[in-house]
């Protein structure tokens, strides 16, 4: 190779650098959900109060479906008040909040519900089937389901009242 072209040699490393730059910028923990835009999987659980909790019963309403655990510190503790306030503010407006506790001891879950005075329906997912059906890989995760039963948004990590309002309110104006 002539000395005139020798400066080109380091350029050979560029494709490798580009690939590394791409790969290192992606978070190995962030998993894009293929479920947004798909029908929400049906489930029927029993709440901690012993009442039936069937997703199909909420068809025609906007559902905020939250997966949580009492051991999920601090994210689940951070978002619990926001979920409760959203639930209280939305009574009679066609929006419901539903909680599913995953991989949790029932007594610990009840303690969590008491601690935050949660009044929306909450049920344990004893065998993890509902959370796997929703592609849940950690807690908290929150799905927003529209009136037709389609998953419209998924939030990973603690949600705020503002986040919930921004993703759920527009769905309330849609026809069932």
């Amino acid at each position: 190779m002539t000395p005139r072209l020798r400066w080109l040699v380091p350029l050979a490393a560029l494709p490798l650098l580009a690939l590394l730059a791409y790969a290192f910028r992606t978070d190995p923990r962030a998993i894009p959900s293929p479920l947004v835009g798909r029908p929400a999987a049906a489930f029927a659980l029993t709440t901690f109060d012993g009442k039936p909790l069937d997703l199909a019963a909420f068809r025609g309403q906007v559902v905020v479906l939250n997966f949580w655990a009492s051991w999920c510190v601090p994210a689940c503790y951070d978002e619990a008040p926001a979920l409760e306030s959203t639930w209280r503010a939305s009574q009679g407006r066609g929006l419901v909040v539903v909680g599913v506790a995953i991989q949790d001891a029932a007594e610990a879950s009840r303690g969590f519900i008491r601690r935050f005075g949660l009044s929306f329906p909450n049920a344990p997912d004893p065998r993890g089937k509902v959370s796997i059906d929703y592609g849940v890989y950690g807690v908290p995760e929150t799905f927003v389901i529209d009136r037709r039963g389609t998953i419209r948004a998924k939030h990973v990590g603690a949600v705020t009242a503002d986040t919930l309002r921004a993703s759920a309110e527009p769905l309330l104006t849609e026809s069932p």
């Binding site: 998993i31 959900s33 293929p34 993890g128 890989y137 950690g138």
Partner: protein, 172 residues
């Protein structure tokens, strides 16, 4: 079963051609063994569950398969795999169930298509590129050596005489 399906049967980290071919050879046999017509409610061996689980990424771990992870989530995922196999689903269908919920990310051996092809092609491109670089380098070295010999000027007559005298003295 497709070739892709067979490739997916391999364990993670398999990139070298010989290893892939060797595994394919073994797995073609294994694939035949499990490709029986599905009968709902038939007994499913733990090996069959592990075969599916070892190809799926444990979603709460870093670089562990559902078969290898002791986590609660992985245990529940193995239960789901077992239930679906018992219900008569094929391993490919169980794979698809998880891909639909967790994305292709959940597969430990990503299928060779789209951007994933980079992953599969890079080791071979590197091998070819490296061999090419070695060839070019060897040719340049072999071309340069005669140049180097003529580059040394012959010693002057006085030096030649001195070298001869020194060698003579060493010999004595």
């Amino acid at each position: 079963m497709t070739v892709l399906g067979l490739v997916r049967r391999g364990r993670r980290g398999v990139a070298v051609g010989a290893v892939v071919l060797g595994l394919l050879g073994c797995l073609v046999g294994a694939g035949r063994g499990t490709a029986q017509p599905a009968v709902a409610g038939r007994p499913v061996s733990e090996d069959a569950v592990t075969a599916v689980a070892s190809r799926l990424r444990c979603v709460v771990c870093q670089n562990l398969s559902v078969a290898d992870s002791p986590s609660e989530t992985a245990r529940q995922m193995r239960d789901v795999i077992r239930e679906q196999l018992v219900a008569g689903r094929t391993p490919a269908e169980v794979n698809q169930y998880f891909v639909e919920r967790y994305g292709e990310w959940v597969l430990l051996v990503p299928p060779a298509r789209g951007f994933n092809l980079v992953l599969w092609a890079l080791p071979f491109l590197g091998l070819v590129g490296g061999l090419g670089a070695v060839l070019v380098a060897v040719r340049r070295w072999s071309r340069r050596s005669p140049v180097r010999e003529t580059a040394h000027p012959a010693p002057a007559p006085a030096d030649r005489e001195r070298i001869r005298a020194e060698l003579e003295r060493l010999r004595d």
